[in-house]
Symmetry: C2
Subunit: 224 residues, 2 copies
């Protein structure tokens, strides 16, 4: 889903964490937070893997891409590891995002509790519907599409979320790119075309259910 070049990258001895690992680092971060809340200061790869729902060997391999932050025979210091992972994935700074489309989904996203604790701050809302412009949702005033560029520049936003119907998605993506956005999370059920320097990830709510339905059907067919 993501367009990405795994640059071995600038200066540093060797960078380039595998995609599969990157996708799990936020999960480990969440697991570490849970351990902290439980008052646990040190954990083994088994403990953390159980908390994160992965295989311990995979966890160790993943962490080995970041460096050696554990102690043999002991395990990992929860707080230290949390800090190192956060550093790696840019979680010790806040990321401002703009949500385009404040229908049901966009509104739900702007109120989503999970973002703020993960360093994601919904900084602006934009909609093409004049009736919605000027209204306030989750404490944020909705701006007009025409003001997108200004809003993005003012608040130095680099991440955009598309929460419009599928038909509008490409147009919105174009506008986001034009406004200077370089990462897009696309909830619209449509592919969007963007320049090479822009990353797009897609979340498709019905596809997830369709995959479940497939397995459900197989289970049902098991009677045969």
């Amino acid at each position: 889903m993501t367009i990405l070049r795994n640059r071995p990258s600038a200066g540093s001895p060797e960078r380039g964490i595998p995609d599969a690992t990157v996708a799990r680092l936020p999960v480990y971060l969440r697991a570490l937070n849970a351990l902290t809340e439980q008052g646990i200061g040190t954990c083994s790869s088994n403990d953390l893997a159980a908390q994160a729902g992965v295989n311990p060997a995979k966890l160790r391999k993943d962490l080995s891409h970041l460096g050696s932050y554990g102690t043999r025979g002991v395990g990992y210091d929860v707080e230290y590891l949390r800090y190192q992972i956060a550093l790696e994935i840019g979680q010790n700074q806040d990321w401002d995002v703009v949500i385009v489309g404040v229908g049901n989904l966009g509104s739900a996203l702007s109120a989503y509790q999970g973002f703020s604790t993960r360093g994601i701050r919904v900084a602006a809302l934009v909609d093409s519907n004049p009736e919605r412009v000027g209204t306030t949702i989750s404490g944020i005033e909705v701006s007009a599409m025409a003001d997108l560029k200004k809003v993005v520049a003012e608040r130095e936003i680099s991440i955009g979320i598309i929460a419009t119907p599928g038909e509008a998605a490409q147009e919105v993506a174009d506008r986001l790119v034009e406004a200077g956005i370089t990462s897009i999370l696309n909830f619209a059920p449509a592919l969007v075309q963007v320049p090479d320097n822009v990353d797009v990830r897609k979340v498709d709510l019905s596809i997830e259910l369709q995959i479940l339905a497939y397995h459900e059907q197989r289970k049902a067919g098991e009677a045969s």
Copy 2:
């Protein structure tokens, strides 16, 4: 994310489509629908791959797991292929789902247009908050948690969606399993433990953004 056994399976000569392929079949279905809307009756793997945003060789390999539905030198009949894929992933029947938790996200999901056209029907809403029980959202009356089992049985629902806060997720999952649900889509930012015969898929909205933030950070660090 999914727990699944790739059963070579009952009777048939050889079943068991790779996970990666299953995850793309709904995408192909959508692409075929788009072609139909454009009045295109036949397409090559190149055409369809472009529409779906994948590599043509991958598309052909994926389709080869279902059977030989193309014609060499010609391509695929759009309608016929659509039908075959729909058959494979159980898309020619409607799937009733129950959504647990009608906060912002649950409400947005119950109104989500993308479901109905993909054979997903939101058949019931359930919430633990007494103030929400009895209210109507998107034309559906919200039921109490205590009635979950009854509702699931009455409407023969096999798929459940968890749209509650993380703390409630495990409790809800247990209730769903108890009620007879065998597939769960979990939007709560928490892992849930279920028996082996139940499939769970997880959609984590903030993780997607955190992955984008990671890439964004790398891009920013490129100046070095």
